[in-house]
Amino acid sequence: MNQENPMKAQVLVEDVWKSFDRGRIEVLKGVTLTVPEGQIVALCGVSGCGKSTLLNVISGLEEVDSGNVRVSGHDVVHESTRIDLLRHHIGYVFQFHHLMPDLTLAENCLVPLIAIGGNRADGLARLQELATATGIQHRLTQRVRDLSGGERQRGALVRSLMNDPELLLCDEPTGALDESNRSRVFDLLLELVRARGRTLVLATHDPDLASRCDRTLKMRDGRIEGETHG
C-alpha cells in the first residue's frame, strides 16, 4: 500500500475500475495509487496489462466506470476540470510523437499555448528555453516531416512542457525510438523533470528505464501487483 500523505499527493487514484466493450473487457480492476509531488514513477508490465489506460484515466482522457481520480487536488471526472488540468497541470507524451507533419516544430509546440490563449511572446521565450534544453533549438523552423525520430519525440516532449505542467504522463515515450535515441530522450526526460521538480508517471515495459525511476509499480491484468523503490 502507499504510505504518502494524500494531502501532498499529485495523483490520487482510488479503487478505479475501467472496462471496454460494454463491460466485456475489464482493463482496470480496482486500481489504487498515490503519487506524491516530485516523484518519478514507472508503471511496468506486459502489453495489455492496463498501463496506458491508467495514464488515460489519470489525465481524464478516459472516463472511469467507478472510483475516484484526483490530480493536483482536482477531481478529473468533470469536463471543465479535465480541460483545466490538461491546460495547466498535465503534460502528456505518447509513444508516437503525434506532431502535425506539415507544420514546423515551433508551430506544433505552440498548440498548447493557443488552447489557453496565452501570450505569444512568453510562449516563444519558453519554447526557446525548452528547445535549447532538449537540443532542438536549431530545428524549430523546420517541418516535422523533415526531422528524425528522436527530434520528433523531443519535440513532443517540449510540447508537453509548454504550459509548465506539474505532472507529466508518458506512455512508452521511447518505445518508437532506436537504441541510441531511446537512452538520449529518456535521459533528457528525467533531467527536465528532476530539474523542475515535476512529477512523472511513465508507462514502460523496459525494466532498465524503470529502474532509473524513484518507484516502479508492477501491473498485471488490470491490477497493481507490487512496487519497488529506486
Binding site: 489525465s59 482522457l61 490538461l86 502528456y92 503525434h98 507544420l103 498548447p112 488552447a115
Partner: protein
Amino acid sequence: MIFTNLRRHRVRTAIGATGIALGVATMLSVVGLLGGAVKMFERILRSDSQVVVFEKNVSDLFFSNVPVEVVVELESQPFVKEAQPVLFTIITAPDRPVVTCFGIRAADGRLKKGEWLQGGAADFQDDGEGVILGERAADFLHAQAGGRIELGHGTYPVAGVVRMENGFENGGVFMPLLACQKAFHKEGVCSVITVALAQGHESSEVKAWMNQHHERFTALENEEFSRSYSQFKIMKTTAWVVGGCAFLLGGLSVTNTMILSVFGRIKELAIARVCGFSRGQLARMIFGESLLVSAIGTVAGWGLSSGGLYLLAMIPQLQGYVEPRIGWQEVVGAMALAAITALVGALYPAWYAANLKPAEALRFE
C-alpha cells in the same frame, strides 16, 4: 489555427471553396441577368415617368385595358406634367412569329432617345400608319425606311429605323397608337398610362385621384410596380430558387470537404484535446474553417459572375438584351446564403470533432 489548417490542406480548401464559388457565381449570374432584364422592362414602361397606371387584377400588362380618355383627364390635373398611353402587343411578321409592338403617340419621349438611322421623328405621326422599326427588328425583318412591311393581318409603311439602347425596344416595332388599336381591335384603350409629375407634386396625388375617379385602375410608382408586378416576382423568385439550388450543391461540397477534413485528422484533433482544447474550441475551429472556405468561395464566385456577365454583355447578339446588374442586395444575399451554407455544412463535422474521445481517437488506425 484556422488559417494554418486551411493552408496545410490547400487542395481540399480549393475544392470546398470552388463548390461555394460556383454556387455564388450561378446565383449572382442568374439573379443579375434577370435583375437586368427586369430593369430593362421597367425602363420600357417608365420612359421619363414616375407613375404607371394600369388595370387592376390583370395577370399581365398585355391584358390591361385602360381607356385613353383617362389620359386626357390626367393631363388636365395640375399635378400631371405629361401622360402617355402605351399599348403593348405581340405581333407576327413573316418568319418571325413574335415581335414586340409598342403602340405609342408621336409625343412619347422614348423615340426621341433613340439614334435615328433612317427617317426622323417627324415621319412618325399619330394619324398615320407608318411604323418605326428598332435597328435589330429592321435587320431581322429585312426592312428599311420607304418600304412596306407585313405585320399581323396588315401591311404598313416603314417610316424610319431607330437604334434603341434597350434590347426589347431595339428588336421591336413602334406603331402609331391609333393604328395599333385598330390592328388589335383595341380601339380606345391602351395597356398602361405613364405619368410624369409636374414639378413639386407627389405621386400620392395621382394615386388619390385615380382611387377617387377610376377605381378599376391602379396607379403605382415605378418602384412599387416593380415590386408588385407578378411577372417580375416570378422571375425574381425563379432566380433565387435556381441560385438556392446551386448553393445547396455548394453546401454539400463544403460538408463533404469538412467531413473529410475532420476524418482525415482525427488524431490531430485528439492531440488538440490533449493539449487543452475544449469541445467548444474545436467546434469553433471547424466552423471557422468552413466559414473561411465559404468566404473565399464567395469572393471567387462574385468575381466569376461579374466577369462572366461582363463578357456576356460584350456579345453583339445579346447587346441591349442583357444588362448584367449585380446590386449590393444580391451580393449581401449571396454572402448570407454562403455563410449559412458554411455553418450548416459544418454542423456535423463540428459536432463529430467536439465529441471525439481523445483516447479512442489516438488508438484509431
